[in-house]
Structure formats: structure tokens, C-alpha cells
Amino acid sequence: MEAILFYLTATVAIISAVFVTQCRNPINSALNLITTFLCLAVFYIMLESPFMAAIQIMVYAGAIMVLIVFVIMLLNLGLAVKERYTHGIAGAGVLSALILFVANYFIRYGEATGTGGSVTSEVISSYGHTELIGRAMFVDFLLPFEIASILLLVAIVGAVILSKREV
Amino acid sequence: MFKEFAKGLSITLKHLLPGNCTTVQYPKQKLEMAPRFRGLHRLISTEHREKCVACYLCPTVCPAKCITVVAAENEAGEKYPEVFEIDMLRCIFCGYCVEACPMEAIEMTSAYEMANFSRDDFDFGKERLLKS
């Protein structure tokens, strides 16, 4: 059951990711990217992280992609594509294949290790994923969290300045 | 601010109550037209002929030029309209023909439902005008 769901979703995710890179029209790329994001949200649920899935949809699909689509709409890029590729298509293909190969090698012959924690499926189901995230974020990672919020503020100010009519 | 919003809402709510409906259920229920209503024309007839004597006042006065009259004489030597035709597509229902007629031979009825399927059906000849 789980395996079927995994392979199905993975296939959709990979195909739509390929379409993101290959579509002539940026709008189609954006639509495919949304599909990829939704597939990833499904994976997060399968990994017992429902909160991350909700955030994935809210932030990526609900905010970032809307912004991108909005910009495509504003700039009316539907027909603005002149040429699709640079000359480096061969090099890019080789590079990507290399990445894939190396990663594949490590995954196959290596083993995922790390500092083992106490968060098991039982802990998640009894304690709640949202609560765990909240605890980790506001106790262990409070300073990085505040820094991230300042980063967002700076980004907003920068975006406003950049997109203003007259500077 | 909220008082005004509430006032507006109360006005619409008041109209929601039964008895505030002003609709006339048209095809089922028809309004009585006023006596002066300027609808479809009618030629008035006496016992054996139409009252019209083909004096050509109505085609002359018509601002839309929609009336065609051809005069003829009958056996008794009286003038009568051999052709009396109103093109209802041109007619603007101004009522001048009624006003101009010295014989009171034409009048306007309260018929206003004149929809039809072909343009020819809007040429009202003498027979149709006498019957209407």
C-alpha cells in the first residue's frame, strides 16, 4: 500500500519536475512545479510530518508560487520565450548525470548515520508533530528563528525598494 | 459607522417581509393599459366598409413614413383605400395618424404584443388592421 503510493507519487513528482525544466511556457512550468510541491507534501505526510506537509503547501504552493505566477502574469511572459537553451546543454547533462551518479553511489553503498534521537513514530503519535516542532523551534532553535525572521524583514524591505517605480 | 450599516441592512430586511413584492407576473397576469395607450393600429369599419376615405392625411403626417395608402373608387362612387398598409417595423407609435384623421377612421388599440418570426409578418394590411 505504502509502496504503491510512494512509487506513484514519486513518478508524478519526477515527471512534473522534468516538465518544469522543459516547458516552453513559464506558466506550464509553474503549474508543474506546483504539482511537484504537492507530491512532496504527500511524502511529508508519509514520513509522519503532517505539519511540514501543511507548511509546504501553505508556503510553497500558497505563497511563493502565487508570487511567481503573479510575476509571470504581470510581465506577460506567455510568449516572451525566445530561445529555450544555452549552448551548455551537453555540459549540463553531464554535470547532472554526475550528480545523480555520485549520489546514487553514496546511497547504495553508504549508510545514513547521525546522532540518534528519541523521536519515534510512537512519540509523534502520542505527543503530536506540531508540538514537537514547536518545542524544537522555540526552545532549541530560538536564536536562528529570530534571525530568520529578521532575514525575512530585510527581504521584504529589499523587495519593496527594488520594485518601486522611482528610486 | 456601524449604525449606518445596520440601517441599510434593516431596510433590505424590511423588504424581505411578504407583501413587499411589486412584480407583475407578466405572461400570466397582464396590466390594464390606459385608455390613451398607443398600441397597434386599428381601422374602424362601418357595416359594409371601412370608415377610411383615403384622404392621404395619415401617410403625409407620418414622421416615419410607414403608411402606404392607395385610393380607389367603389361602385357607389365613394373613395376607399384599395391598399392600406402599415409597416410596423418602421412605425414609431407617435399617434399622429390618429390625430390627423378627419374621419376618425383609425385608432390605436392597447395591443402591444407584436413579436413575430419574419419581417413580412410586420406588414399590416387592411384586413389585419380592420380585425385588430
Partner: protein, 100 residues
């Protein structure tokens, strides 16, 4: 049985696709979207490994990645709009002056 290796392989594939897109496309917005694919594949790795080792730290990192992605989206798209205003294009070939 789906193990963590499946997720890692999937995210490697997505990362490679994203890299390919970034390197080959000319349209800045499409490049931007390919970068998002790469970031998301990393997110998937983080969450899969976090579940594998039973530690929440990985998931917190996903939050920061999302923050960075949001900031990047805001600034990047603003840059594109500003650039489009001047050049009527967002092709990377036209990004060839050092100053605007």
C-alpha cells in the same frame, strides 16, 4: 517497504533535474523555479533523514530553507521586475551589463 534510501534517491533525482534546468534554461523565472525544485529536494532529504535518525533538528532546518526560499522569492522576483522594466526581457543573456 519504503526505506530512507528510496527518499534519498528520489531527492537526488529531483536535485539533478533541477540542476539541469538551472544550467540549460535562459528564462530567469524558469531558472528560479528550477532552484526551487533543488531546494525542495534538499528539504525532502532533511525530513527523510530526520525521521530516520529520530531527531527533529532536520525538520527545523527545513523551516529555515523555506524562510530562505521565501526571502529569495521576494528579492529575486523584485529584481526581475526591475530588470524587466529596463530591458523588456528577463532572458539571462540580456543580464550582461554590470550595472543598471
Amino acid at each position: 517497504m519504503i526505506t530512507v534510501n528510496h527518499y534519498l534517491l528520489l531527492s537526488a533525482i529531483l536535485f539533478a533535474i533541477g540542476t539541469f534546468g538551472v544550467l540549460t534554461r535562459k528564462n530567469a523565472i524558469v531558472i528560479f523555479m528550477c532552484i526551487e525544485v533543488m531546494l525542495n529536494s534538499v528539504n525532502l532529504t532533511f525530513i527523510a533523514l530526520s525521521r530516520h535518525v529520530g531527531n527533529m533538528d532536520g525538520q527545523i532546518f527545513v523551516f529555515f530553507v523555506m524562510t530562505v526560499a521565501a526571502a529569495e522569492a521576494a528579492v529575486g522576483l523584485a529584481l526581475m521586475i526591475a530588470f524587466f522594466r529596463n530591458k523588456e526581457s528577463i532572458d539571462t543573456d540580456d543580464f550582461n551589463m554590470l550595472k543598471w
